[in-house]
Symmetry: C2
Subunit: 333 residues, 2 copies
């Protein structure tokens, strides 16, 4: 195989076969994918969870992750937030001609590692190549199928008095990608993406006996935007205490440097959960017992029916949070 | 909403909401999608068919179709070729900033029409926007879930003496896109893409009582490449008769003009079926009774175990067909 991916590799002919058999199948070998049919036949279940995301993150590699890990975790997490157990992934690549094969290989290795860690198989896929300056190295789409294990999660279940739990520090992914893009960050620096699969965390919480109203991973738009969506769906307000929201000092400093707000920075390994006040301790205990949830904290409470998210600042003021307006950070995932 | 899609619309914030609620939800309204969760919860089945494709066709609109129709038919067809009944689609957009909203709207209308016609719902989706010169107007990924209705289709079931049926003329899509790209073709011209959903055709054949070994839609790489894949999987040879392969005169002329071979040109609404010789008439009758299969014809036979595809030319010679080498036609779908 050539070192650079050329348009020929997207032709559907010999070179495409070589790309698939040389770079893709060896990594993801499983009986469904090995059929190389147009789709995969899979054991099913009564209720499915189906999700998709395209990933266009720039740069492809950043401290704490890369586009491959992100593409797996993003879709697995979307399924977990719906109460589903992710089972199957599709993997579709849009490659810009000239992408070094070594780069593609590193990304695919990362996809494989992340899929294994999350317990999903890549069951079907597709590969396209576009001309130079019609892409940006590599875009990845994943779609995922999960089986519904915990039905009924919805922000519409929220009630006044419920508590809002965040599974760890806010804004790590967004800050890390922004610094990496600016060339400000070297691998090993203190600001790293939190990119991680949340299936074990969600499962631990949902099996803890806590009354869970809804879950969501605050990716693009960050914690603030996700809570605004919760408030909008439920018609209830949410009151946050700034002092209770964990943010790493290095992320705080990076945000100050870049003019960002950590509450609007994307997370890729964090979960927001709304649970009843009575079962909040049980929920926290279950979440903190997992690797990705060990820094879980109550960050706010559901208030009266005004559909507003209010941040009580450390200085005692109140600030109404709105959904992210415009692009704080394009191509973050 | 602005007339041009800017990076802000991919931010995950307010403008993304506006794009989704203004352009996407009104078109695809259904209860699963309307939840606006991270994924869709769907009634399932015991055995699933799962498929994905990214579409990067250039130009976005061409005689006989557009990227939206293609994105639906491509994935629906992949599922149908596996013996599945397509049920749910995901729809993921990678938009280049500057895409006119009107263009996006036309494509989404086309997606909706094609989805309705094929009996699938768009159950979940995603939207990203990339900077100018990092995309080419619009790329679309669809993934599809179908329920397996006809298990066991595989080229490995092929036997010597089986017949190969093509559901209509070869090469229409590839020729049409190539002419449209060169600006040589006006709408209404004789060369049009065959882009169409094949679910009714596949179902008619699979319910006809014919012994069907395998199905595939010959897209990138065309009829020749797909038959090479069949030969490779089965270890058997295939003998084609050039005079029996239907090609529209206008496509033949266009291929001569462009230096293309219709057998290697992509089709987006054709099916190749291998069936037993004894049930070939029954298969042909069932296929010809459908709209997309009315020009179905036997184009060849499965021969001895040499894994070769040989074309018997009209002048009496024999030409060994190989998989497409290189990019005859990049970005055809």
């Amino acid at each position: 195989m050539d070192e650079l991916i050329t348009l020929d590799y997207g032709s559907g002919g010999k070179k495409t076969s070589r790309l698939i058999s040389g770079e893709i199948l060896p990594r993801f070998s499983n009986s469904a994918l090995g059929e190389l049919g147009d789709g995969a036949v899979l054991p099913g279940a009564a209720e499915l969870v189906f999700s998709t995301d395209s990933f266009v993150v720039d740069p492809l590699f950043f401290p704490g992750g890369d586009i491959g890990k992100l593409a797996v975790c993003g879709t697995v997490n979307d399924i977990a937030m719906c109460g589903g157990e992710a089972k199957y992934l599709s993997l579709s690549l849009i490659i810009e001609e000239g992408l070094p094969r070594e780069t593609l290989g590193r990304v695919l290795d990362s996809v494989k590692r992340a899929a294994d860690a999350a317990g999903v198989i890549v069951a079907t896929g597709d590969t396209k190549v576009v001309e130079r300056a019609h892409g940006d190295g590599l875009y990845i789409n994943t779609a995922g199928i999960g089986f519904l294990r915990h039905p009924g999660l919805s922000p519409r279940n929220m009630r006044e008095g419920d508590v809002v739990i965040l599974s760890g520090t806010a804004g790590d992914h967004g800050a890390a990608v922004m610094l990496a893009r600016g060339g400000l960050l070297e691998a090993g620096d203190a600001v790293r993406s939190d990119c991680a699969a949340l299936c074990a965390l969600a499962e631990a919480l949902l099996c803890s006996g806590a009354e869970v109203r809804c879950l969501r991973d605050p990716t693009r738009g960050g914690v603030a935007t996700t809570l605004c969506e919760f408030a909008e769906s439920s018609g209830l307000g949410i009151e946050l205490r700034e002092s209770e929201i964990p943010v790493r000092p290095a992320v705080r400093a990076a945000c100050a440097l870049l003019g960002l707000d950590a509450l609007y920075c994307a997370n890729e390994g964090k979960m927001l959960a709304v649970v009843s006040a009575e079962t909040a301790d049980r929920a926290l205990e279950a979440m903190r017992a997992t690797e990705t949830g060990k820094d879980s904290a109550v960050i706010g409470r559901v208030s009266g029916a005004d559909g507003r998210v209010v941040l009580r600042t450390e200085s005692g003021g109140g600030r109404i949070l709105q959904k992210l307006a415009g692009a704080q950070l394009p191509r973050i995932c």
